[in-house]
Amino acid sequence: MLDQSYYNKADEIIEGYGRKAASLIPIMQDIQAEYRYLPGELLTYVAKQIGVKEAKAFSVATFYENFSFEPKGKFIIKVCDGTACHVRKSMPVKEALMKELGLTHKQHTTDDMMFTVETVSCLGACGLAPTLTVNDEVHPKMTPEKAIDLLSELRGEKV
């Protein structure tokens, strides 16, 4: 069971967009921005509140790549694998991060819930390829070594 505070937050967000079907996506986006994932129970609640069938709400949520039913880490690292980054060797950067964090193609978040590593298609900073973002902050011209340094920097922040 989710804490009551989640439902209160959801109510607040729903009020902001209005109880209509077209509000579904923006509401889900705001909930995800708040909790870094979309709790399934909360989606059921939202669907009922805005008059959308639960099945429809889940079909929409699963269609879009941005929504995740799994909780994500404190730092969400998105490695850009757009064309420009790809030809400037972005995948070795991602592999280095995954290796350092002990992640696999099935596990994207570290057990301590600190880091999530994902691939994203294009961040629009192609001039500085390869890039990655940490919680939406863009880091330019990455190399596997710089990526590892970045991790220690981020780890330093938690102390």
Binding site: S23, N66, T83, V87, C122, G124, C126, G127, A129
Partner: protein
């Protein structure tokens, strides 16, 4: 405060310009996505700190210019040379500084701001060693023709006052006060403006079709879902000059009789969303958006929708479905978007760059617009130039400009002098152009003849270190992942094509695979439901046509000449450099390295799994890769 007529707009414009001239010095810090990533925000903060209190950089705040700051340190949109960021311009001297570091700020203030002297070491230096003090001296910028991007990098991207200062909203005033909706549509139609989203459908024709519909409730929608990996032009326009695009949309709404509009921005562009929201609020405050615009009784309300990470939403019917709160899946057409678009109502759907072209067309006229570009594709086109190129960044050139000019004259040629191999135009839905196309005239119609599309304008340059088979696999994996799954040809076809390409890069391909690939590509191209599906095979078709020898090398000789395909690499130990430390053998997960301490080791390539662990761990650089 609202602006209610042309005269008031003119008064406002003059006042802005007088005020701007009153600053002894203005510092324009590029705060586009690229420069912010390079640390521009910190530079901006530092300049604000250093300059506050300096009379030279200050003006008296005026009550009726609420969006013109007291301090002349402003954030602009993309100044163009993303790779050399953070960028800064200093007016009135028109100095362009590149790679500005925090430690440079004090010197800039002491020399330039206080004394008007340049800091020469921050100027751009050409390959020949020439210093460029002004933006237009830099070949990359000077050789462009900027219409859509004319204000980008020159005005405060968060101030409607500055936009009005450079003549903003006079096109809207002209349209609303001097022209009938029909005349506006006629002007756009005569200009020959074609949709910049990729397909190049004439915008005027589209507007006419919407205006003709019997249904009176209509919508204007802007496609800012720039999903092509390797393209950031629209993002730069939204960030750098959001007003222009909003003005263009408002004119479109007036022309087709719409009262409501939506901007659909992809989720990866948070800065665009922020700047658009600011711009909309300011425009509403001035009575240039919302109810009773310019006191004419015309109402237009604008909303922003953020995408949620689906490439297919760049397709018209998928985009409108997404705004409605549904899965973003294309539907069968007809009825087309102009007849039944958003909420089944007639809808004008154009992309960011198309709308951004509109104000200038209304202001300077269709005739003027037609003097730029080619007969069939008038105007300019923005490109994002990236990949293995010396100068990456944002480029705007007249339609019909040769690829050679873009890559060599503007882009400065290939990085570190590598050999040119090809350029991917139009992203995953486009194709690959090669040497023989360098001197061809580039416009909507010519590009189609080369099995590519103009697309939204991504240009990714590839050199000899890029494997074309791998590139085809990369694009196919993208389109396969992004296929919405509604129609069988795209859902299954892209999957099967990807499997074949994966097989080839893994060194397990057969010659028959090439025929199968071709057959599948033709089938998907002709049978998929939407434009994205239909264009998904283009990268395969064009690379197969132009780089068939590379495919065959992968299959027959098991060789990747670019040394990219991991499975085809061969690791060797250079006996001369090897000290026999045995570190490689210890780190080899496959047990493929043999030898005796203090004697050169050897790799057995039959056992090798090509992971590269040996190379990464060698302290003597003794391990090399052979294609």
């Amino acid at each position: 405060m609202s602006i209610t007529c042309k005269e008031e707009l003119k008064v406002h414009q003059d006042k802005v310009n007088q005020t701007i001239q009153a600053y002894g010095c203005r510092i324009l810090v590029c705060c586009g996505t690229g420069c912010i990533a390079s640390g521009a925000q910190k530079i901006y903060d530092e300049m604000v700190k250093l300059c506050s209190g300096m009379d030279n950089v200050k003006v008296e705040m005026q009550k009726d210019l609420p969006h013109l700051g007291e301090l002349g340190v402003v954030k602009t949109g993309c100044q163009g040379l993303c790779e050399l960021g953070p960028l800064m311009r200093v007016e009135p001297y028109d100095y362009q500084y590149v790679k500005v570091q925090l430690s440079d700020c004090k010197e800039i203030v002491d020399s330039t701001v206080k004394e008007g002297k340049p800091v020469e070491r921050l100027f751009y230096k050409t390959k020949e060693g020439e210093l460029c003090s002004h933006p237009d001296d830099i070949p990359f910028i000077g050789k462009q023709t900027r219409i859509v991007l004319e204000n980008c990098g020159k005005i405060d991207a968060e101030s409607i006052d500055e936009y009005i200062g450079v003549g903003g909203y006079s096109a809207l005033a002209k349209a609303l006060l001097d022209m009938t909706p029909e005349e506006v549509i006629d002007e756009v139609d005569k200009s020959g403006l074609r949709g910049r989203g990729g397909a190049g459908f004439p915008a005027g024709k589209k507007w006419k079709q919407v205006a003709r519909q019997p249904e009176k409730l209509r919508y204007v929608v802007c496609n800012g879902d720039e999903g092509d990996p390797g393209a950031f032009m629209d993002g730069s326009v939204m960030e750098g000059d959001p007003y222009k695009m909003i003005e263009g949309m408002t004119i479109a709404a007036y022309a087709v009789g719409a009262q409501e509009g939506y901007i659909y921005v992809r989720a990866e562009y948070p800065l665009s969303v922020k700047r658009l929201k600011m711009a909309m609020a300011q425009a509403e405050e001035y009575g240039l958006l919302g109810d009773n615009i310019l006191n004419t009784g015309f109402n237009f309300h604008l909303h922003i929708n953020r995408g949620a990470g689906a490439f297919v939403c760049g397709e018209g019917s998928a985009l409108t479905a997404s705004i409605e709160g549904n899965r973003g899946m294309p539907r069968v057409k007809p009825p087309r978007t102009v007849e039944k678009g958003l909420w089944e109502k007639p809808t004008v759907l154009n992309n960011v760059e198309t709308y951004a072209n509109v104000p200038k067309i209304i202001l300077s006229g269709a005739e003027w617009f037609r003097t730029i570009g080619t007969e069939g594709s008038p105007g300019t086109k923005t490109f994002s130039l990236t990949g293995a190129i010396e100068n990456t960044g944002l480029v705007e050139v007249p339609m019909g400009t040769k690829l050679r000019e873009i890559i060599y004259d503007i882009g400065g040629g290939l990085k570190s002098g590598a050999a040119f191999k090809g350029v991917q135009i139009g992203g995953p839905s486009g194709g690959c152009l090669v040497e023989e196309h360098l001197d061809a005239v580039l416009d909507f119609d010519s590009v189609k003849k080369f099995d590519a599309i103009m697309g939204s304008g991504g240009l990714v340059v590839m050199d000899e270190n890029t494997c074309m088979v791998e590139v085809a696999r990369f694009f196919m994996s993208f389109t396969q992942r992004e296929s919405c799954g509604k129609c069988v040809p795209c859902r299954e076809g892209t999957k099967r094509m990807l499997e074949i390409l994966e097989k080839i890069v893994a060194g397990k391909g057969e010659m028959e695979d090439l025929d199968r690939l071709e057959e599948l590509a033709t089938m998907v191209k002709s049978m998929a439901l939407c434009g994205l599906g239909k264009s998904a095979p283009l990268p395969v078709i064009s690379t197969l046509k132009r780089f068939r020898d590379e495919y065959e090398e992968h299959i027959v000789q098991k060789k990747c000449r670019a040394k990219v395909c991991t499975a085809l690499r061969q690791f060797h130990i250079n006996a001369e450099f090897c000290k026999g430390c045995g570190k490689c053998a210890k780190n080899c997960p496959a047990g493929a390295i043999f030898g005796k301490a203090k004697h050169p080791y050897v790799i057995n390539n039959d056992l090798c799994i090509k992971c590269g662990a040996c190379k990464d761990n060698c302290n003597f650089d003794a391990i090399y890769v052979e294609a």
